[in-house]
């Protein structure tokens, strides 16, 4: 049977326990700090690497863009042929002058009407254009 601790012995034990707990807490805090620091460092490294990769990609894209014209996705079917475009934009297309108008044949025209011959008014139909 052990004899009960004296008050002085109890105090000494409590001090030892407190000291040990303090040391343990400090060690834990330190280790968490170290771990956090390592993690932050790893994140920073990763961000730096990403930034560098992005910069490299942008630089590569810029130099590629400078090297050759941007290629466009073309529709598989061209509605307007090059020949028609050439006809509509040939030299002289926008040079002013020309054309023929006259007073409306419905009022003062002297020329025989060549208005399209049709029979009756029709309802306007609106085709879909996608715009």
């Amino acid at each position: 049977m052990t004899s009960p601790l004296t008050p002085r012995q109890r105090n000494r034990s409590r001090h030892v326990l407190n000291a040990a707990t303090g040391l343990l807490t400090a060690a834990t805090v330190a280790s968490v700090g170290i771990a956090s620091g390592l993690a932050a460092s790893a994140t920073k490294d990763s961000q730096d690497a990403k930034r560098a990769a992005k910069a490299q990609a942008a630089e590569a894209a810029a130099s590629a863009a400078a090297a050759e014209p941007v290629r466009a996705q073309r529709p598989t079917k061209t509605i307007v042929t090059t020949k028609v475009v050439a006809g509509a934009s040939r030299s002289g297309t926008a040079s002013v002058g020309g054309g023929t108008v006259r007073s409306s044949s419905s009022s003062t025209s002297t020329r025989a009407s060549t208005k399209p011959a049709v029979t009756k008014p029709v309802k306007v139909v609106v085709p879909s254009t996608g715009s």
Binding site: A65, T93, A94, V96, G97, K115, P116
Partner: protein, 333 residues
């Protein structure tokens, strides 16, 4: 970007009028008729497809358009569609024909004035500030380079084909229909009108298309100011009465004077001109608005038949306009 001359719609016309097709494209209306209604459905389908291609390549409001790709790369060659190259050639020719009065490189000025989206989406009255316009570099359009499959813009230039783009589209639709379907046709793209017929059709068999003229497309609902028969070529109306907006406490419109960088402030509200193509007609009508007091003399000197309406509704016509007596004259409404 101009409006107002258009073939009368069937509802406006007397019984017996031609059947027509009408739809929306390029931020405006399209009106199409063929002689006697022949192959009209096919013509409308083809015309709509052509305009989709024009929109895809030439629009300033589509970031993926060929035009915007070229605008994003000044100083560099950009491969673009032949459709855009044609539009740019026409725009540069319009600049040449008007000594730079119709300048396609003023896109920055329209942007700073707030015209940064299709007009249907533009707020008519915004309190957002507008940048103070500065006179653009004169003759920058001369530095735009075009080769067989690519385009290169000078540094600082920003192409906007609004002045001649719709007229070119009307020419393209009309010539496509004639080439593909072999029928006489008239098409109006936002008031830029083009009549065309197969070359083999003798002149006496070519239709004369009645065209109503007003300040804006909406005004046509109240009846046109005048009706003409367009026999051949193009007819276009440019007006400061349409496409107006308020920004930064100032009123703006889309016709920029390249000499000042600001909207044209001349005496003319609406000018209608005739040309051998819609692009030629539009070049003349746009130049007249910008030239202001010099317009009637300039039009007469260049042999352009035109009708000019000032802000007080006074009408002036040049020789060649039906009813004009061989010299520019004024009419009182």
């Amino acid at each position: 970007m101009t409006t107002a001359a258009l073939p009368r719609t069937p509802e406006d016309a007397e019984p017996g009028a031609a059947p027509a097709r009408r739809w929306g494209a390029l931020g405006t209306y399209v009106h199409l008729q063929t002689a006697g209604g022949e192959r009209l459905d096919e013509a409308a389908e083809l015309g709509a497809a052509v305009l989709v291609e024009v929109d895809r390549t030439c629009s300033r409001f589509r970031p993926d358009s060929d035009l915007m790709r070229a605008n994003a790369r000044p100083g560099e060659w950009t491969e673009v569609s032949p459709v855009l190259l044609g539009a740019v050639r026409v725009a540069l020719e319009a600049a040449e024909a008007t000594d730079g009065v119709v300048d396609p490189t003023l896109g920055h000025h329209l942007l700073t004035a707030g015209y940064d989206r299709t007009f249907a989406l533009l707020s008519e009255s915004s309190t957002d500030p507008a940048a103070v316009p500065i006179p653009p570099a004169r003759d920058r359009w001369r530095q735009v380079e075009v080769r067989q499959d690519a385009l290169r813009l000078p540094i600082g230039a920003y192409l906007d084909l609004g002045a001649t783009g719709k007229a070119y589209a009307a020419d393209l639709v009309a010539t496509s229909i004639v080439a593909r379907l072999g029928v006489a046709v008239v098409v109006s793209v936002g008031g830029d009108v083009r009549a065309a017929a197969p070359a083999e059709l003798p002149p006496y068999r070519r239709p004369a298309w009645p065209v109503g003229i007003a300040h804006t497309a909406g005004a046509l609902d109240d009846g046109p100011d005048e009706v003409l028969d367009l026999v051949e070529g193009g007819l276009a109306t440019s007006s400061t009465a349409a496409r107006r907006w308020v920004r930064g406490g100032r009123e703006w419109h889309h016709l920029i004077d390249p000499r000042t960088g600001e909207p044209a402030r001349g005496p003319w509200r609406t000018v209608t001109a005739v040309g051998h193509t819609a692009a030629a007609a539009n070049t003349a009508s746009t130049a007249a608005i910008v030239l202001g007091v010099q317009a009637a003399a300039w039009l007469s000197a260049h042999g352009v038949a035109a009708r000019l309406v000032d802000h007080d509704d006074q009408v002036t016509t040049t020789p060649g306009w039906p009813g004009a007596d061989g010299r520019a004259k004024e009419e009182t409404p």
